[in-house]
């Protein structure tokens, strides 16, 4: 089960080398996203697309809000 994190935690983990993933559609990501986030839309999240992530480091995911 993924650990819940708040915005302070996101900032701290980013500073400590964590990876931030925006899982919204590409057009939403392109319009506005959190600095440092990469975009892997939920629809395309799979073995191929996660290769750009380091499985040895923390990964944080977010979408728009409590969806």
């Amino acid at each position: 089960m993924a650990t819940q994190i708040d915005r302070n935690g996101v900032q701290k983990l980013l500073a400590d080398g964590g990876q931030l993933v925006d899982v919204l559609a590409a057009k939403d990501y392109e319009a506005e996203h959190i600095p440092g986030a990469i975009n892997i839309p939920l629809k395309s999240l799979g073995r191929e697309t996660v290769r750009q992530l380091d499985s040895g480091r923390p990964v944080m995911v977010y979408c728009h809000d409590y969806q």
Partner: protein
Amino acid sequence: MSARAASRLETLRFRQVYRYQPGKADWFAAGLPREGTEAHTPGVADMARRDVPTCRLEERVGAVHDRVREGSWDVCGVVNEQGVVLGLVRVEALGVDPDSPVEDVMQPAPVTFRPNLGLGEMPEYGTKQQIPRALVTTSDGVLVGLLWIEDVDGHQTHARS
């Protein structure tokens, strides 16, 4: 959506998965940096006057009155030690017994806007006829500044011309 993404990552053998459930709406509402093609669309935080005077609930009206007048302001934000807005005091309300606490004269629950509210997205009540000014606060209620509606109107008029 982030719950499903987090679960999927776990099935892909990621062991340190975190879910930022409040998402980018929370991030932007806190006035934190944005990136993207629309990230530089001006929001109310860009127009807010950051040097608005503040006071504490328990401060004496006399001291606050002097401070507000010194800066030629006509309002003062009432905040707690974390900077969370508790109310607003108009300068007219400060003409009472100088030893009265601010709590007695403040307007509780003033209108507030989030920092990321677009200048073209002001709600209908956000007109200078109804509210000449409003406080801008983060989603946690922390004061960012004071927004003059006429500043927004002026910006919008200039942008259209």
